[in-house]
C-alpha cells in the first residue's frame, strides 16, 4: 500500500497541515498531486483513484465519440474498400482484394479529380493566404472601430457554404450574371463560368477565398499582436521603413503561424466538397460535364451516392486519407528543417 511516491510525499503533508483537517485546503495550498493524510484509509484510496482516473473520465467523451463516429467508420471504410459493395446490396459484399484501388489508379476520372483538387487548391490557397496576411497587417494599425473591422472580416466565415455558393452561382451565371455583366463593360464576351475549364475552377476558388480569407487574417492578426513592439522600435532605429519592418520582422515572427494556416488550408483544399457540389447545381457531383471541377471529394460522393458503388468510394476515401498523411509528413519535414535553420 505504501508506495515510494507516497512515502516521499508524506512528510510534506504532515508538516503542512494537521491530520484530518481540511484536505481540500491542503490541496489548495499545495496544488494537485499531493496525497492527503491517513495512507491506507478508504478516503485516501478513493482520492488517489480519483486523481488517476478522473482525467481519463473527463477526456473519455471525446474518445468515445471519436471512436464511435471517427475510428470505427474509418476502419469499416477500409474493410469496404477491399470489397465490391453496392449501395443497394449492403449485405451482399464480395471480396475484391485491391481491385478497387487498381481500378482507381487506372481510371482517368481519378487522376483528373486529383489534378483538379491540386489546381483548385493552389488557386484558392495562395491568394487567400497572401490577402489574409495583407489584411491582418492593415488591421494591426491603430484603426477607428477596429472591432467592427474584425467582425466584418469574420462574417464570410460565419455564412453557410450553401448560402454563399448559391449567391456566387447566381453572380457567375452565364446569362444575366453580375460578373459577366461587369465584364461586358470592358468588352469581354460572356463567359460560361460553369462549363469552361479554367473559369469554373476560378469560380469555385473564389468562393473558397471569400469564405476563408477573413478567418486566416484574424489568426495572423492574433499572432502579429503577440510580436513585441521593441522589435519594431529597434528596426525603426536602424532605419527600416514600414515595408522592411513587415518583411524582416513581421514575416519571420509569423513563420509558425503561417505554417499552421498553410497546413490547415491544404487539408481544407484536399477535402474541398461543398462549394463545387453546390456550384454544379443539378447533378453537381459530376463537377461539370467534362469533370472540369470535380474534386476528389466530389468524385467519392459521385461514386458512392450517385452511382452507388460504395466499395470504390471507400477506396477513394482511403486514398484521400493517405494523401493527407503524405502532406502531413512533408509538412513535418519542412518544420524540422526550419527549426534547424534557426
Amino acid at each position: 500500500m505504501t508506495s515510494s511516491k507516497q512515502a516521499l510525499a508524506q512528510p510534506a503533508t504532515s508538516a503542512d497541515a494537521a491530520p484530518g483537517s481540511q484536505p481540500g485546503a491542503a490541496r489548495g495550498a499545495q496544488g494537485r498531486g499531493t496525497p492527503p493524510q491517513h495512507p491506507g484509509s478508504w478516503r485516501s484510496r478513493l482520492y488517489r483513484w480519483d486523481m488517476k482516473a478522473s482525467p481519463y473520465a473527463f477526456i473519455a467523451p471525446f474518445f468515445i465519440i471519436f471512436g464511435a463516429f471517427g475510428l470505427v467508420p474509418l476502419l469499416y471504410t477500409a474493410w469496404y474498400s477491399l470489397h465490391n459493395v453496392q449501395l443497394s446490396g449492403l449485405d451482399h459484399q464480395t471480396w475484391a482484394g485491391l481491385d478497387n484501388y487498381k481500378n482507381l489508379l487506372s481510371s482517368e476520372f481519378f487522376w483528373n479529380a486529383l489534378e483538379n483538387t491540386f489546381s483548385i487548391g493552389v488557386i484558392s490557397t495562395v491568394p487567400q493566404l497572401l490577402m489574409a496576411l495583407g489584411i491582418a497587417h492593415l488591421l494591426n494599425y491603430r484603426l477607428r472601430g477596429s472591432t467592427v473591422w474584425r467582425v466584418v472580416m469574420l462574417t464570410p466565415y460565419a455564412t453557410s457554404v450553401a448560402a454563399a455558393t448559391l449567391v456566387f452561382t447566381l453572380l457567375y451565371s452565364w446569362d444575366g450574371g453580375m460578373v459577366n455583366w461587369l465584364l461586358h463593360f470592358v468588352g469581354v464576351h460572356p463567359i460560361n463560368w460553369r462549363e469552361s475549364d479554367w473559369g469554373s475552377q476560378f469560380a469555385v476558388s473564389s468562393i473558397v477565398i471569400w469564405r476563408w480569407t477573413g478567418y486566416n487574417a484574424l489568426i495572423y492578426l492574433a499572432a502579429m499582436q503577440a510580436i513585441p513592439t521593441d522589435l519594431y522600435e529597434s528596426a525603426a532605429l536602424d532605419g527600416a521603413g514600414r515595408w522592411q519592418q513587415f518583411r524582416h520582422v513581421t514575416i519571420p515572427m509569423l513563420r509558425p503561424t503561417i505554417l499552421f494556416t498553410v497546413v490547415v488550408s491544404t487539408i481544407g483544399a484536399t477535402q474541398l466538397f461543398g462549394e463545387p457540389l453546390l456550384f454544379g447545381g443539378v447533378s453537381g457531383s459530376k463537377g461539370g460535364s467534362a469533370h472540369q471541377y470535380q474534386t476528389l471529394g466530389l468524385y467519392m460522393y459521385d461514386q458512392g451516392w450517385g452511382i452507388g458503388n460504395l466499395g470504390k468510394a471507400s477506396a477513394i476515401a482511403w486514398t484521400m486519407f493517405l494523401i493527407l498523411l503524405i502532406i502531413a509528413a512533408v509538412n513535418l519535414l519542412i518544420t524540422r528543417r526550419l527549426r534547424k535553420s534557426q
Binding site: G24, A25, A60, P61, S88, L170, V282, S289, G306, I307
Partner: protein
C-alpha cells in the same frame, strides 16, 4: 464545508459526464420503442404514421392527410419531405437495409423503382394482395412488380407528355399558334418538332430561343421509346438501343444549332428563364404544369398553351410502398391503399396537376380552374389522358438513373455548352457509363 462543496461539485461534474456518455451510447442503440409510446402510452392514444416523400408530392397540398385523419380519428399522419430525389433515395436505401429508421410509407421515384424491385423486394410488404391490381395502368403496375409476382409499391402519378409553348412568342415568330394544328405538324417524330425550332429561330423574338435545353428534348423523346437502356432481361443495351439513338440525334440537332437557351433543368437559372420568357417551348409532363405556373408567374398567364407531344411519352412519376420494418404495417397499408385510389389521385390532380396512374380516375378529372385559365383553356385532361393511354411499355434497369445522367449531364452538355462535336460527346458519355457500370 469547503471540502464538501468541492467534492459535490466534482461529483456533479462526473455525473454529468457519465450521463452524457450514457446518453450518447443510448443514442446509438436501436430506437425500437419509439413507436410504442405513440400508440400505447401516448396521451392522445393515436397511432402516428409517417410518410417519407421527396419534392412536392401534393398529398398535403390537396388536403388528403387531413381528410384521412378526419375519417380515421385514431390515426395521425406526419410527412417527412426530402427536397431532392438524389438525396432521398440513397438515404432510404441504407435505412431499408438497416431495417430501422424507415417511415411507415416510403415514396419511390420511377427512376429507382427497378432497383427497388430487384434488390429491396424483401424489405417491402406485398401490396398486390391488398388491392384490386386492375385499377392501375398495366405498365405502371408491372414496373413495381417482381418476377415472382410481388407488388412492392402502388403507383401514384405518371408523367404523360405534352408540349407547353408560348403562344405569344410563336405568333411573333410567324408560327402556327393553334394547338391542334401544331400537334399535327410534329406528330409522330421529335425530329419534326426540332425542325420547327429551326423555323422559329429564323424570326425569333429577340432574347428568346425555341427550347430550354437539348437534354429536355432527349428526355422527352426517350420517354416515348420502347427501347431504353436495358432490355427485357435486364441486360444493358444502351449503346445499341434504337430509342437512345433516335433521342440522341434529336438532342444533337438542338445542341449544335442556336435554338437552345442552354439552361440546365431545375437550376435557378432555368427558373429565371421561365420568368424572363427566354424559351418558347418546353417538353411538358403533366407535373411540369404546376412548376411553370409557379416560375413564370402572373406574367405568363394566358400566354402558355399546351399541345400534344410528337409521341405518347412518359417522364417521371412515382410509387409508394410499405417497408416491412415499419411498426404499423396494417395501418400503413390501409393508408397507402387509400392515397393511391382513383378518387384521391383525382384530388391530387385537381390541386397539383400530377396525372393519375389509375385510368378509372380519367373520366372524372377536372384540373384546377386556375391551371386551365393559365394554359389558355387548353383541354388538359384530354391531351394528357390520350398520351397516358398509349405510352409504350418500357423496361428499366438498376442503373437507369446514373446512365441517364451520364448521357444528359456529360454527353449532351459537352456538345451544347463546351462546343464538343456529337461524336466527342457520345464518347465522353460512353466512358462515363463504363465507369458507372464498373466495366
Amino acid at each position: 464545508m469547503r471540502t464538501s462543496t468541492r467534492r459535490s461539485r466534482r461529483l456533479a461534474a462526473i455525473a454529468a459526464v457519465a450521463a452524457m456518455t450514457a446518453g450518447l451510447l443510448a443514442g446509438c442503440s436501436k430506437d425500437s420503442n419509439d413507436g410504442k409510446s405513440d400508440s400505447d402510452g401516448g396521451g392522445s392514444g393515436k397511432t402516428q404514421l409517417t410518410i417519407g416523400t421527396f419534392g412536392v408530392f401534393g398529398y398535403k397540398q390537396a388536403g388528403l392527410y387531413d381528410e384521412y385523419m378526419k375519417l380515421h380519428p385514431n390515426i395521425s399522419i406526419k410527412e417527412n419531405v426530402t427536397t431532392r430525389t438524389d438525396v432521398y433515395w440513397p438515404k432510404t436505401l441504407t435505412r431499408l437495409q438497416a431495417g430501422s429508421g424507415t417511415d411507415d410509407i416510403q415514396a419511390i421515384e420511377v427512376g429507382n423503382i427497378t432497383e427497388a424491385v430487384q434488390t429491396q423486394a424483401d424489405k417491402f410488404v406485398d401490396l398486390g394482395k391488398e388491392v384490386d391490381k386492375s385499377q392501375w395502368l398495366g405498365w405502371k403496375l408491372s414496373q413495381a412488380t417482381t418476377k415472382d409476382g410481388k407488388t412492392i409499391a402502388l403507383g401514384t402519378d405518371i408523367g404523360p407528355m405534352a408540349i407547353c409553348y408560348r403562344k405569344d412568342l410563336f405568333a411573333k415568330a410567324g408560327l402556327e399558334t393553334d394547338r391542334t394544328k401544331l400537334a399535327a405538324q410534329w406528330k409522330g417524330d421529335w425530329a419534326k418538332y426540332v425542325d420547327l425550332g429551326k423555323t422559329y429561330m429564323k424570326k425569333a423574338p429577340s432574347g428568346t430561343k425555341f427550347v430550354d435545353s437539348a437534354s429536355s428534348v432527349y428526355n422527352a423523346a426517350l420517354g416515348g421509346e420502347s427501347q431504353r437502356y436495358y432490355d427485357k432481361d435486364g441486360n444493358v443495351i444502351w449503346d445499341k438501343s434504337t430509342g437512345v439513338k433516335k433521342s440522341w440525334n434529336a438532342a444533337m440537332t438542338v445542341a449544335t444549332s442556336n435554338m437552345s437557351a442552354k439552361l440546365k433543368q431545375f437550376d435557378p437559372t432555368w427558373d429565371q428563364g421561365f420568368a424572363k420568357g427566354s424559351f418558347a417551348t418546353v417538353a411538358c409532363p403533366a407535373w411540369m404544369m404546376g412548376y411553370i405556373q409557379e416560375k413564370s408567374g402572373d406574367a405568363g398567364k394566358g400566354k402558355w398553351d399546351v399541345a400534344a407531344a410528337p409521341t405518347a411519352a412518359n417522364w417521371g412519376g412515382s410509387f409508394i410502398g410499405v417497408p416491412t420494418a415499419g411498426k404499423h404495417q396494417k395501418e400503413a397499408v390501409a393508408l397507402a391503399k387509400w392515397l393511391t385510389a382513383p378518387e384521391q389521385q383525382a384530388k391530387v390532380f385537381a390541386k397539383q396537376a400530377s396525372f393519375p396512374s389509375t385510368p378509372g380516375a380519367y373520366s372524372s378529372l377536372t384540373p384546377a380552374a386556375a391551371t386551365t385559365e393559365y394554359f389558355s383553356n387548353a383541354p388538359i385532361t384530354q391531351i394528357f389522358g390520350d398520351s397516358a393511354k398509349t405510352i409504350p411499355v418500357q423496361y428499366f434497369g438498376t442503373k437507369d438513373q446514373p446512365i441517364g445522367t451520364a448521357i444528359t449531364d456529360v454527353g449532351i452538355l459537352q456538345v451544347e455548352q463546351k462546343g464538343k462535336t456529337p461524336d466527342q460527346g457520345w464518347n465522353a458519355a460512353k466512358a462515363e457509363i463504363k465507369d458507372v457500370l464498373g466495366q
